[in-house]
Symmetry: C2
């Protein structure tokens, strides 16, 4: 079937407008490690990744799931030790206070649980978030989506946004990191004050630990721990969305380690089961107990032995293959080499990120910093033609999002850099 | 580890109060077909089931998932034919207008999508539902949970409940089926009118096609098609929640066939992937297209090749093993035999249901029909001691819910009937 025929069929069966990547979509039939293969046998280097963090079809994860699905997969209202072992192992990877886990199937559901915990425990209903956030697709969680850009009537008065912290397009040019921290913290306080003056009690703050959808900005160093302090002083809980940031993508186990704070509640998802739907919220057992007392929460497919098997296998691989350190090393190499290419390429502006999660501003010129979303999109599509899959992100759509799996190595980075250099050597970007 | 130690560990890791079955919880370590096995090797006949509809660890489903997870499991923003084949196969099982599918991971998410479709298409925001409903655990969907029993301040003004239709504890005793239909339909109209008089435009009706959580009542025969008509005449869409009712549990493919109506939107979940998290909403392509135009909806783990493989394998098994007809036959046998036991057992009142989804009212005495939730709970716990797993349900907690997997056969029914007879032969029920 041709791509056009397949797209027609897809429009009919999944709805016209179901999200798809690239001007010419890729028909993927097979995956292995860092590679995806289309129906003609052509290979693509997966640098969008997102979910299968230890590589496509990793045999250890595949075999663990196979073995478990032959043995038992049942809901969590019977006792089962496997899921307890998995919860314990997850808790041991987290900062001290986070000892209990409420499992769900998706990151959206994990954020639903986190909001419910914060509301149940604080008695408040209001939240603050960043003004370019995305935390999921349910009615409640999607209220956090780019709050500042929503039509007035859709604005949820219980949710207030602050400008996300960033160094490149910052609130004020030419100030020190310390001064910038104060400026952004004042915005956090303003958002909390806005709730208070409307009589809405604060339940907490929900943010991605590394502001991934915001475009992986360079955050003033003291911002996150101080913002967390402000939220707690105002009676709220701090929720770190680790759905994209977690599981060593930044070279640390968790994004909150990278940006230097300890959350009250953490939500996890995407890479957690390498493609098996597993997600969850972790918190102290005091918080989770209080949530359980006040809310009856049950999730049919969650906390299952199959989730536990897939999740355990992912942790096994990250630990056994020492991926945290290779991610860190490969990320440093890749950012360094990309910076070398900036010399000959005006649109390549701020290159940033952590580990194997890299953001690059694409601009019309570096003096004006004028964002070039069309140019970024052209690069993404040109790379796809060359067999490299990356994405774009950020509120202005001009940030190249480079996020290969954790098993991506320097040899893969070299292939990418060659292709990228060819791309930017072409005269027209848009 | 003893049950007490395991429960302590569970309380700590998953939160004290995480839902669990039975006074003495069962530590399940293995499943095969209709059987679950505990850590001592003792077997239990799974008559709660709910999810693994073609039996625990069915080899065809296990192998299909294994083969797929070795080949590819990736998000849906690339083209992939497997998920289109699965969507087409599902659509072919549904009534004519339902030709498109929006995949999700859980029934809750499927209901989120259905509500969003109805709101996007009608422009309305109000819904009607039954007064003993449960449709999921998210903030939005849990607004439908037993609306009539919620505290006044929690009542969502956009959601209005009508008394669910039932023959046993009906609105009016001693009237004909036709008269009862009219009485219940008047309540549906009253709920719609309530929204209208508060200036809330109707988006639709969300109901389980067989009112499973309501206790599987006997529904006046013309109620469902006429209620659907009333909703459509008032400008709303009819959403059938098939999360429990679907996939041949009633002996028909869908609960809406059993209760005789055609919905505008159908939501599916639990049995869909035999334990793999797969769910979705089906509707006409016109409705889904309009939803896609108005809302950006993406679900990371959904519409994946692994979901498609598990889902396809479940349909294969149901078709190849001819389960629709054995479910119907075994259900008739089981209800018939249970009715014979009523003679010597006062608490066994109304026995009803469809296929292998049976509800039984447990009462203090049949004249007063006074519900006996404690007695029902005692029977459930006593059966667990004998190695048979059933549940209880209904707004009064007094309805025994008997729902074995579709592969449950007459030989299993006979084992259960013997045990059940022994249970009710014991003098004290509570």
């Amino acid at each position: 079937m041709t791509t056009v025929d397949l797209m027609d069929r897809r429009d009919h069966l999944l709805g016209a407008g179901a999200p798809i990547f690239y001007e010419t979509p890729v028909n993927i039939v097979r995956g292995q490690g860092v590679w995806l293969y289309d129906d003609t046998g052509r290979r693509y280097l997966d640098m969008y990744n997102n979910v299968p963090c230890v590589g496509h079809c990793h045999p250890h994860v595949v075999e663990a799931m196979y073995s478990q699905s032959q043995t038992l997969n049942v809901h969590s209202r019977y006792l089962n030790e496997d899921v307890l072992d998995y919860a314990e192992r997850l808790a041991n990877l987290h900062a001290d206070p986070l000892t209990s886990v409420v499992f769900t199937c998706t990151g959206t559901e994990a954020n639903e649980v986190a909001l419910a915990i914060a509301r149940a425990v604080t008695g408040g209903h209001g939240f603050i978030c960043s003004d370019a956030a995305y935390h999921g697709n349910s009615a409640e969680v999607s209220k956090f989506t780019r709050v500042s850009q929503q039509a007035e009537e859709e604005k949820a008065s219980e949710i207030r946004a602050f400008p996300f912290p960033q160094g490149y397009r910052s609130l004020h040019d030419g100030v020190s990191d310390e001064e910038l921290t104060e400026l952004y913290l004042a915005e956090v306080e303003r958002a909390i004050h806005g709730l208070r003056s409307d009589g809405i009690r604060l339940a907490g703050m929900l943010v991605c630990s590394i502001f991934a959808n915001e475009g992986l900005p360079s955050i003033p160093r003291e911002f996150m721990p101080r913002a967390a302090e402000i939220v707690r002083d105002a009676g709220g809980l701090v929720i770190a969305d680790e759905v994209q940031a977690g599981f060593c993508r930044t070279g640390d186990w968790w994004g909150y380690e990278t940006t230097g704070f300890v959350p009250d509640i953490v939500t996890m998802g995407k890479p957690m089961g390498n493609g098996m739907p597993v997600a969850g919220a972790a918190a102290s057992s005091e918080l989770v107990d209080e949530f359980r007392r006040k809310k009856r929460y049950f999730n049919t497919f969650a906390a299952s032995p199959l989730q536990a098997a897939a999740g355990m296998a992912v942790i096994d691989v990250i630990e056994k293959e020492g991926l945290a350190s290779t991610v860190d090393k490969t990320g440093i190499y890749l950012r360094g080499e990309l910076r070398k290419l900036q010399v000959g390429c005006e649109p390549m502006a701020d290159i940033r990120g952590h580990g194997l999660f890299i953001g690059m501003e694409w601009v019309q010129d570096r003096d004006s910093k004028r964002p070039d979303a069309d140019g970024a999109s052209a690069v993404v599509n040109r790379l796809r033609e060359k067999g490299f899959l990356i994405g774009s992100a950020g509120p202005l759509g001009n940030i190249l999002k480079i996020r290969p799996p954790l098993v991506f190595k320097q040899e893969h980075a070299e292939l990418f850099l060659t292709a990228f250099e060819e791309c930017i050597g072409q005269t027209h970007y848009a």
